[in-house]
Each structure stands twice: as C-alpha cells, then as structure tokens.
C-alpha cells in the first residue's frame, strides 16, 4: 500500500461528520429544493437560517443553510466523543499554531472553531439538542426519503498533505485511494472515515481547498431513481449533474445534483462496513475508468472542475497536473 496507515490512537476522538453550514442566496428557493424536493426535514427556520436533518437523525441539524450575499461553505462540522475530546482538540490545533476558538452555537452549545492547515473551516462539538427521530414516522417521508448526512468530499491541491494531516492528527482511516503508477505512485484521491463506512471525508486532487460535495445517504437505489424522476419533472432537470450510476470506488450507487446555488450534493447508497482497524484500503489505478463509474459512463467536465469555495479561504492549484477529461 502507498498510504501511511492512519494513527489509530489520535489525540482526540472524532465520532463522525455531523453537519455543514452553507451560504445560500435565497432561503425560499433553498427550502423548495432541500425540503420539498429532496425531502429533508425542516427542524427549525429563522429569518436567516434553515436547520435541516434526515429522517433518522435525532440531532437538531445536519444541514444549516444561511442566507448570505456570497455563496460559500462556512463550516464542515464534526461530532467528538466527549467534552474532554473537545479540549484535546483545542490543544492539538493550538500546538500546531492553527486558529482555534471557542464559540457558543445555537442548539449545540460549546463549540470549537478551527482552521485546518490548508485553510478549511472546521467545527467540533460534543452534544447537540435532540429532536424526534422520524424513522418510523412514515407519514412524514417525502422526496427521496433522505436518512442522514454521509460524508464530505473536498478538492485538495495536495492530497498527500491533506491525508497526512487528517489521518495522523485526526485519526481518519483510509478505505480506498487512487494512485498513478506512471508517476511514482502519486496519490490522487483518498477516502477516509471515522464512523465505520467508506468515508466521512474524501480528498480529491484539484484546485482547493474547495468542497466538491456533501453526501446524503438513502436506503436503496430506488430512492435515487425516484429523485431523478421527481427532479426531471418539477423544474430541476438542469440541477442533475451526473448519474445515476455505480462508483467503482466505494461501490456506491450515486447521483450528483446541484442545489439552487450550485453546491453539489451526492445522493449515496450501498457502500460497506469499515470498522475493522486493520482494514486494508483498496487501491485503484488512475487510469482505471471503472474506479469512477463501474459501468463506464464518464463524468461531465463540470464534475471535475467545479466546487464550492470556503468562506474567506484562498485556493491553490493542485500539485498534480489535472487529468484530461475524455469524452466517451
């Protein structure tokens, strides 16, 4: 394997990705998309913010949409195992000379805001206000019947550096990766997890840091097919960017859609359990087209190039030259 194994005993214990804060321009338009079409549950609505969650989620929110003049990603948020883990996280970031500040956040209380070494805005907290689980409130199922947030995927200008920080300092464990045997086995992308499936966090070579996508988990491929039918006949045809299809990497059945502000959402199902600490990550060669789509259909150019900027963050060009996009 070409990756250094993860640090299995990091300084603090991240349980899983928890939520994302997105800057959007028009909350009414966003609500039609996220609530009425995707089917996320509106936990709470204020004059400038929508708090959304999936049907099985008991945390107050997994998507926070803030009215904003700029379209941006404001924060990627993670839940830690205890209050003490929060303190240890603070120590780690401070010791590395990285920004780390305590804030009070609505519905989640004591929260740690940090910058990672690459300029991404992260947030850690331990406990969030609990709301009813709607898993068995079948009368409230809508749209694609979204269950929970699944993962973040970011464009990283230096995937090896990103992976090194997240795996050695934060304990993210690799499950799959792409490398280039024609270029000293350079690492092009890594999928890494905390919660026990393929990923909480993936890094893909590209101009960054930018958010490539945030993913929502649904139970079966038929939920995704229904969303295709729904979006294509309710005015969202242009928002369907790629798929449905099967990724070679992760084995996920996927669909990529763009929200009204262009933020990319992956609808995701059918990956696998990855809790074994000795799980050997799966290596994919860069030139194997089935890593991206097992069935062979190529991704559109936009999928390789477009992403959401983090608020107030400078992007860098990737250290590996971007692969050419070859149409079928």
């Amino acid at each position: 394997m070409h990756l250094k194994p993860a640090n299995l005993y990091p300084d603090f214990n991240i349980v899983r990705l928890s939520h994302i804060e997105l800057g959007v321009r028009d909350l009414t338009v966003s609500k039609e998309f996220y609530v009425d079409t995707l089917g996320l549950v509106l936990t709470e609505e204020t004059s400038d913010t929508l708090y959304l969650r999936g049907l099985e989620e008991r945390n107050h929110h997994s998507f926070v949409l803030q009215k904003s003049s700029e379209v941006s990603v404001k924060r990627l948020a993670f839940k830690v195992f205890s209050e003490a883990d929060l303190d240890r996280a603070y120590e780690l970031f401070k010791a590395k000379g990285l920004a780390a500040n305590w804030v009070e956040k609505y519905a989640q209380g004591r929260t740690l805001h940090v910058d990672d070494p690459f300029g991404m805005k992260l947030e850690f907290y331990y406990q969030m206000e609990q709301v009813p689980c709607l898993l068995q409130k079948y009368g409230q199922y809508r749209g694609m019947q979204p269950m929970r947030i699944d993962h973040f995927n970011v464009f990283a200008p230096d995937v090896e550096a990103f992976y090194t920080f997240y795996s050695q300092e934060l304990g993210f464990r690799p499950t799959e990766y792409t490398y280039d045997p024609d270029n000293n086995d350079a690492i092009w992308a890594v999928w890494s997890h905390r919660k026990g499936n393929v990923h909480d966090m993936a890094f893909t070579n590209g101009l960054g840091p930018r958010l490539h996508h945030v993913a929502i988990w649904v139970p079966t491929a038929l939920n995704i097919i229904h969303l295709c039918d729904l979006m294509s006949t309710t005015g969202y045809l242009k928002n369907m960017e790629r798929g449905p299809g099967r990724h070679g990497i992760s084995n996920a059945f996927f669909l990529y859609v763009r929200d009204p502000d262009g933020h990319r959402i992956e609808i995701y199902t059918s990956d696998y359990l990855s809790v074994d600490p000795d799980l050997e990550p799966i290596a994919w060669k860069l030139k194997n087209p089935q890593r991206q789509t097992l069935w062979g259909a190529p991704a559109p150019k936009s999928w390789f190039e477009e992403g959401s900027l983090f608020e107030a963050t400078t992007v860098k060009a990737p250290v590996l030259e971007m692969q050419p996009i070859v149409a079928p």
Copy 2:
C-alpha cells in the same frame, strides 16, 4: 383441464374492468384513506361523491365513492370496445331475460346497467371523459403510488355457474383455478381476464354474490412495503388484514387492507402477461396451501368470511361446503 375453455368470440367485446362504485358512510374519512394514504388521485369531488383514479389512468375515475347510509357495492363497471358493443351487450342481456337499462352517467355518457344472472349489478360503457395522465407528474406521487385499478374478486355461491356465464357469454378467459380432486374435481375458484393479465374478474366459493375485494396495481413490492409502514404508523394498523406475501395463484405480491367502511382492497403487483388465446389455465389443488400463500402463512378467518354486499341483492349459501380455516 377441468374448465370449459372460454368463448373466444363472444357477442360483444369487453376491453377490461373499468371502475367500481362503492357506498361509503363518510367522504372525509374515505378521502383520508384513499387519497392521503393510498395515494389515489382525486379527479373530482361533489357534495356526495368522490371520483378517484390511479396515476397512470386517463379515464376520469376508477373508484367512485358515494356517500350512502348503507355500506355496499353499487356497481362493477366494464369498458367495451365500441358503442356497437354496448348495443350487442344490451341484446344479450335482454335475450336472457335479465335486467338491462340505459342510463346517462356523469363523465361517461351512455351507459348500460344490467344485472347478471346471480344478482350482481354491472355497468358497461364505451368512452369516458379523459383527464391528464399523471404517470410522469412525479411531483404528484403519494402514498403507495397506485397506478391503476386491476381486478374484482367476488364470492360466488356457485363458482362453476358464475364462470360459465362470464366465460361463455362475456368472453372472460381463465388463467388459473382451484379444484378439489377429492370431490369430483369440483371447481372452487377461477381467475379470468379480458385485458391480458391474470384477471379482471375472479370467483371464489362462498356466500354470495358479495365483493371479496377490488385490487389496485402498484409497480413493485417496495410500494407495498411502504404502504405497510405508512398505514401502521398513521392510525390504520387495524385496517391491515393480510400480508404482505406472495400468492401462489397469480404469483402476485399482495397486501389486503380494509377501507374505513370495511371494503377490502388488494394491493397487487408482479403477475404476468396472459394475452395468448391458447393459454392453458394453471390448475391448483384445493389442499395445496401454497396456492394461497406461496410462503406458507395462512390467511386470517375474516379474509375467508367477510365481504361487501351488493346493493339490494340477495345472497345464497355456497354449493360447496366451506373449507375449514386452519390456524398456523
């Protein structure tokens, strides 16, 4: 085979079953069940009638619910191939000394009302007012995403007599049947069709004529599983009578529910094409438990005994002694 083959050239051409008129006590309660829960589309609503249809249906209605002091079946309705077929139907019923009357019906015009020889109220018409097909209006999909009415199943006190009339005079073609090899191959039930799947009309031994059920077709078993989840968590647990399961006969994946007035509805999917005129009907022995449920689970007693009365129709005891209901 123990059945006389159907008359392939009947006097008039019935295309398919078309709709049912049910007497119900409370339209508000019925609407909550049929529209909000099952997901049928409300084409039109008057002070005393709901007109409903499935998502793919372009006819104005396939379920007509009439506010009524008595719970009953008012009519079983069939579409014929042409106006001339209507006239030929009139001649046939008159020639047999059966009631046959022309009426004008809302949204379907010239309509023939007849009594069959056993007292069932039938209705024939050629053309109905067309309304939009919602098959690709995915934004209007609700509940179990019902597509169309599929068939009627009636308790017949003399299944052979019923089958003889419907197959020889009306051209219904048999696809499957149950017989008793221990009792001179007596016929216990017959499934027969006009439209090209397992049935438009089934006859089951029992006190009758009574409606055993009317069926609605859905695309896949997952629509039925979703309906189970939905009904069991929105106050309709007691309305779930049998299933889900797989019938041996017809191979249908099924669920039987009772509407708020006790009318039985089968939710039905995955039978087969039966258009071949020389299709040999499948024979099932009465004692084969898999004919009812391929997977072995028995039906509840109510399923064998309860049915909806036709308005102003006298019922008779069955000529074959009812089979004992054996609990698991």
Copy 3:
C-alpha cells in the same frame, strides 16, 4: 393528433410479437451472453441453433439464435389469434402482391413467411409447443431475471409509410409518437402495440429497414441495475451502450446493451397499460430532449446510427434528414 387512428378491425388478429430469429457467429459466445449473463432460459440447443425464452414464457422460444456466417436479423415473428387468422393474413399479403409462403417450423408448425412492403421479413403462426412456465421456479432465476420478450424497434426510412401499413393493414395501435412542428409536423417515430402495453413495434426515422433493438421485459429497475453491475464486472463493459435511464416516451426504465454480434437489446420495465381502443397517443416534439431521456442524459452516437440488417434486404436513406447528435 397527427396520426391517422389505427384500423381497429383489421383483416386478421395479431395477438402480440412472439419471437425473433437472429443470425450470430458463435453459439458458445452467444450462450454465455444470453443465458449465463442476461439469464434467459435455454429451452433447447441443436448443433446450429439456440432456442431461448424468458422466465414467465410458456412458448418454446422467444429468441432463436442461428449460427450464421453473416450477422443479421432473419425474422420478426408474431402470434395470431387462430389458424383462420393465418389464412386471412396470407390473403392480405398476396392481395398486395407481397411475398407470402407457408413453411413448417420446428416447435411451432404451420407458419406464414411474408415480406412487408419495405423488405422486412415477418413470420406469423398461431400455436407453439408449450414448455414449463418458470415464473415460480425461483431456483432457476439467473442474471437480470428476464420475464419475456417485449417489443421490436426498427429504423424506418419513411416512418409515416411504415406506420400506415402496420396500423391500417395489421391493426397496430399507436401509443406515442414524435413529430417536428418546425417541418410540417413530420412524423419521426411511432410506438404501436397489439398486446396492450406501449409497444410491440416501434418505427424510428433512419436508414432502413434495420432492427434498432429487440426488448426484454424485467420486473423492476433493480433488475437492470444488477445487470449493469454484472456486465461491468464479468467482461461485458464494452457491451453496455446506453443507460440506465428513464425514457420520456413510454416512461420505461431502460438499459441498452449489445450482444456479442452487435445486435442491440433493450432491457425494459415500467411502461403502462394501453388496452383502451380510444387511447389517445401522446405527442412529443422532436426538439424536446426529455422524450429520449427524461433525466436529460444524451444517447451516444452509435445508438442513433447503428442497427442490425435484415437478411437479404436492401436499405434506403431516410426521407427526413437525420437530427444532429449533440453531445452533452
């Protein structure tokens, strides 16, 4: 509507499409594809022919693969309602000065071979040898669990002429069509049926006559997704041409694959019942991209251009200039 309605009382009664005879180069290779991968059932195998059927089919064959030096379509076959219908078919073709010959065919007996006015080789018969229905032999389900043949789609150099012959003489009834409002409402494609779903026979503008595809019906979209997974990981990645996706026309969930000789097979599910004689065909404008794919993904160039030649038949250029293929 821009189409002349079908003749509802044609001289003879075609029940449905029945089977196809394809010339293939290597039966071993074909068997691996059709039987081991798609999951069709091998009814019988001779030194030069494979007879295949779907799981619910009781006819001896729906696909006949003949070892042949040339890759071609040998016959499109249809079942008629009675022996007398065969005789009436003979009269009709003779009266039009078209080739019509009686032959004896294995497992189906008395058979009528005709040429249609455009050079397509057709075959009519009434009864075929019956073999066991495997619908409830779940232990024999393989691959995508194919149920039955569904339809033929042919490139027609003059769609209006083809439609006129098939609808007025043979009684095929239209369900959907494509027309060009910018070119005198010229008809580009028609879908027409006998058996009661969207089509037995479709005509598409193009160099022809050639077979665009023959379709196999499967129960749900998940059968198609499994076939994608199966083909893409067992050496058939290059045989996957288009999809999966949803057609606007027919509402079918589809996948197009190419057999080892290049014959195109559509895997097809979720269209609708069309038995009503007064069903108004659905009109699609040529420039509406959703008619081809509801979800927007374009078809590859090969899909518009490639097809199978009929044996010993001359093709003509289309009367309507081919539409430009626009890449995404």
Copy 4:
C-alpha cells in the same frame, strides 16, 4: 431511561461481533442451505468444517459450521481493536474468576476463549486471514446476496444481569429496550452494539443462555422477498418461521428462517446508524405489539420458545414470567 448507560471507556475495545461456530449434523445438507440457498460464500471446506462469509466480508469466515453429533452453538466470536486489547480482555475475565484460555485458531491465530458469567462461550481475537472482498464480483452473487454477519440475539434468564455485564464490562451500548411499566419497569430485552448500528448483541427474556438467532445483513427488502420465493419453491418452506415484516424495534425489515439443524437465522436490513456516544436508547413498553411487528402480525409460538443450546452449558429459567403468546 431505565437502563444504566454503557461504560464508554471499557477495559478493552471490542470492534464488532465477528463470527459464530455452530455444531451441525450434516455438512452436505448445511452447504445446500447456507451456500446454495442463502448465498453465503464458501471460503474453505475441510472434512469436518465449512468456513463461510458474506459477499462484502474480507475476513476468512463469519460462519463456521462444524460437523457434530450434537446440534449446538460452540462459540460467539468478537474482533478486538488490537493485540493489547486481547491481553486486557484476558486480565478482565481472569480478575472476575471466569474461564479464560489462549488457543490458536485456524485462519485467525492467537485467540482468547472465555466463559461469560452466564455460561456463554465467547471468543476474542484481533486479526484474521484476509480473503478477497466479493462486493464487486457480481458474477458470484447468489441467493439473497448476503453481505455480512450482523448480530447475535440470546435468550437471557436475567436480562438486567446480562446487560449489566455486557454494558459495564465489555462496553456494549444500548440502542433500544423493552420494559414493563406494570412490573416496576422490569427490563425484558435490550439491544446493544459496538460497531455502530442497532446491535451486535441483544438479550431477550427467556430460558437461557440460548442463542435465539444470528443475523445476516442484506442490502434491501427485495433480497428478503427473493429469499422467501426461493426457499418456498426449493424445498425449504418449512424452514421459514416468521416474516417477512418490519420490526418496531430496530426498524429492521426481517425474515426468520431455521437452518437444517434448527438454528435460527434472521435476515435483516434497514436499521440505522448508532455511533453517537450520547444516543438515547429507545424505550418500548412490553404491551406495545408494534415493538415486535410494526405491521401487527404476531410471531409464532416457536419464535418465543425455541433456541439453540450452547455446548456444555446449563440453562436457567427466566426471572420474569414469560409473556403469554396471543394468537391474532
């Protein structure tokens, strides 16, 4: 809540349940059931043992079937996070005066055998021989397409005592439980996990310790419906004990089958993520019938009473009087 929260920092780290060793009478018969019907993969076969795994599993085995004169459960096995965790497990069991012995096991090496305080035979190990993941070898999918072992469920004569040991000493975290508000909130059953879904280990009031069932995870409800069709038509009708249905507890779509020796297997899908350390367990009242089956169908008597004995282990009567089984 009526349960003491789990010890979140146990002496050693159990990652997940790993495998089960079952004594069976006839390996040929067992292979037909587990491999040919359920679709588990045969990793290796010796003269007296079958080693089986699910399609996504990379460990050499999750089911070990040993030819045995007695039908019994030999071991419930768990994977720990490191070799050091094994040593800490040894210390814990020794300190409590419980049997703890090191053994070498085929394909997993250094292994700790212990007895829990109630006589159940457990096994801990860190690393097992890795074999190919077949998740994307779709050509090898068979039967119900089983993915992985999911959980154990045991009859416990004293559920509170079992839960206390497993949660306080071994760190199993509760997700759901049943209690009796009419009997001092006595605890009747607890579901508890290590790997992040509803359970690795459940305890149910009853004569024990006995294994109630071991569960296998499949992707969707349709896999379970296919297994029902398959078993009911290939000679395994009598082995289908309960379901399919939806559990209120866990929200699982389930089927219970009995293997040829009577060991109960649950086929299981659609529960939820439970990694949050502060996840509040869901409380179900004993008299709520929907906890067992959301849709209302009762379980058969055998399901409440029968279970597999652990080898050489004495069983005790439950401390709570068994609930009456009420037929529908």
